[in-house]
């Protein structure tokens, strides 16, 4: 069940240049799942549509969002203070399937602003499973959430400039460390997701990737946010599926990216 309600900023701080960590008190925190997202509504009259932001962590009575300032809406959010009101709608989407990791070697990959959405997953998976490795990938030494991951699971790091951990991307880190995942969970930029899809297909493993697309409604009504699918979709009856409703997480083989 999705809810549309007024939330309240519990805490907001900057984690790295242009990256903000905002905790929002709202009742939808009671049943949000890892990999789901929420719509956050800017107030400025120069904006219209809500902004889709992933759930980074679920706390008692609040959701944690970590976002990058990308334009008008996220700029506005970054200026909020504790106590400010913010409208939220969610939780939206399917989330990551935790069961797929049962008794297997699970590897969680996050790239850039795709790092935050795998934090709650890392927390919940590490409570249930013994073999969980997380690899966040960053551009440089401005590594946000690294300590948070280290609390929950074995954490390796990739940085593009080589300032920490593996030099390169998360796939380079997998190779360098000789990791052989049974199942991958990922969120990140399109080139990274494409590389993961290819790797998973070549190695015959499952990979659950979280996709992004421009969205208007967030509830499956506008058909703005689709991705091409291998098979005809059960709802649309064409080779297109709604990321906001049937996703944002898909098994990599199901989607054409």
């Amino acid at each position: 069940m999705k809810k549309y309600e007024m939330g309240k900023v519990r805490e907001i701080k900057s984690l790295a240049p242009g990256i903000f960590d905002m905790k929002v008190e709202c009742t939808l925190s009671e049943y949000a799942l890892p990999g789901q997202f929420a719509m956050l509504y800017p107030k400025s009259a120069s904006t219209l549509l809500p902004r889709p932001i992933s759930i980074c962590e679920v706390e008692k009575g609040a959701l944690r969002f970590v976002f990058r300032v990308a334009g008008k809406g996220t700029k506005e959010f970054s200026g909020y203070s504790a106590g400010d009101e913010i409208r939220v709608m969610g939780p939206i989407g399917n989330g990551y399937p935790l069961d797929a990791a049962k008794g297997r070697k699970a590897v969680l990959l996050g790239g850039g602003i795709g790092v935050p959405p795998i934090l709650e997953l890392a927390r919940q998976l590490s409570e249930k499973e013994s073999d969980v490795t997380v690899i966040p990938g960053y551009r440089d030494s401005n590594m946000f959430l690294k300590e948070d991951f280290e609390k929950y699971a074995k954490t390796l790091v990739a940085t593009e400039d080589g300032s920490f951990g593996t030099k390169g991307n998360v796939m380079d880190a997998i190779r360098e460390n000789g990791i052989k995942p049974d199942v991958i969970y990922a969120c990140g930029p399109m080139p990274m997701l494409k590389a993961i899809k290819k790797y998973a297909e070549e190695n015959g493993i499952e990979a659950y990737i979280s996709l992004e697309e421009r969205m208007a409604c967030g509830v499956g009504a506008c058909l703005g946010c689709v991705v091409k699918t291998k098979e005809p979709d059960h709802h649309s009856h064409v080779n297109n599926t709604r990321i906001c409703t049937e996703g944002p997480v898909f098994e990599a083989r199901e989607v054409e990216i």
């Binding site: 999705k2 549309y4 549509l49 697309e213 499956g220 009504a221 689709v226």
Partner: protein, 300 residues
């Protein structure tokens, strides 16, 4: 106090419906909105066969509104009849089915399939700016509009609403053409063709290059067009374009609309439709209006 309105013998409990394509089949918003509170649910355009729509990006925000180039993705009339109509029949609301096609024959095929379905009215989309063939071509030429309206009227068992495009020189001429060909009502406006360019990448934001603009910024254009159409024809009008609140809805009614539809604003406020219904009632109380029909076209 009476909020009931009638179009071609179909009675609606209040004058508020949803704009096609912004409310799915109603199912998508039923978590937020009690559909039984609405005068009608107008569904997403449906064609004779499934359509995959346009490549993405399909939507983007613009100042005061948005552009969309969905390209009329839909599952086809057969799935619609099996899945979406039975769902809507669970609610105490009227059903207006929006129909699209690439040729007259395709429109007629859908209308024929709907003939024995429990739906109340048909809205014919001859004004979608986002598909290459058909659709808007029928809505931008008075002769073509007359022709398709006649063919659809021959096949239709339910009252027919022709949905007009604002992308024309004289809306009154199009309204008259629809009326002359036997349309039971008209609805307007569909989206206004627009474009957005990403100056950093020097690329079109939408994959389709152009998209239809909707949202609060188009309301003044829509109100003006409804007013002009209302003065040109005697058939009822469903007014839409940028409605966000009851104040907007009342403007359309004062301009001459019998019903109003909430579109893109559903994305901003999923409760917008019911808030408009409640707001209209409060407005009537506040102004001592006994019958909503008494203020239609009452602008001086």
């Amino acid at each position: 106090m009476n909020t009931k309105v009638t179009i071609a013998g179909v009675e609606f409990k209040n004058p508020v419906t949803t704009a096609s394509g912004t409310f799915g089949s109603g199912m998508e918003y039923s978590e937020f909105v009690d559909l039984s509170k609405l005068g009608a649910v107008t569904t997403k355009g449906v064609a004779s066969t499934p359509w995959p729509g346009n490549p993405t990006p399909r939507v983007c925000e613009v100042y005061g509104g948005m552009l969309n180039a969905i390209g009329l993705q839909n599952p086809g009339i057969d799935v619609f009849c099996e899945r979406d109509i039975p769902f809507l029949k669970n609610y105490d609301t009227k059903i207006i089915v929006n129909v699209c096609g690439k040729t007259v024959e395709e429109y007629v095929a859908v209308v024929e399939k709907l003939a024995d379905q429990p739906v109340d009215m048909l809205e014919i989309n001859v004004s979608c700016p986002n598909v290459k063939e058909g659709a808007i071509a029928f809505g931008q030429d008075a002769k073509a509009l007359e022709n398709i309206t006649k063919e659809i009227k021959k096949a239709a068992k339910q009252p027919v609403v022709m949905k007009l495009s604002p992308n024309v020189t004289r809306i009154a001429d199009m309204a008259k053409a629809a009326e002359a060909a036997g349309a039971d009502a008209i609805s307007l406006i569909n989206t206004i063709t627009g474009m957005k360019i990403d100056i950093e990448r020097r690329k079109f934001v939408l994959a389709n290059k152009t998209g239809g603009m909707s949202g609060p910024a188009i309301k003044p254009v829509a109100v003006r067009m409804v007013y002009e159409a209302a003065h040109a024809v005697n058939i009822p009008i469903i007014g839409m374009g940028g409605i966000a609140t009851y104040e907007d809805a009342i403007e359309f009614i004062l301009a001459g609309a019998t019903m109003v539809a909430v579109g893109a604003y559903n994305f901003v406020n999923p409760n917008a439709t019911v808030e408009v219904v409640d707001g209209i009632e409060d407005y009537m109380k506040r102004h001592g209006i006994e019958d909503i029909n008494s203020i239609r076209g009452a602008v001086e």
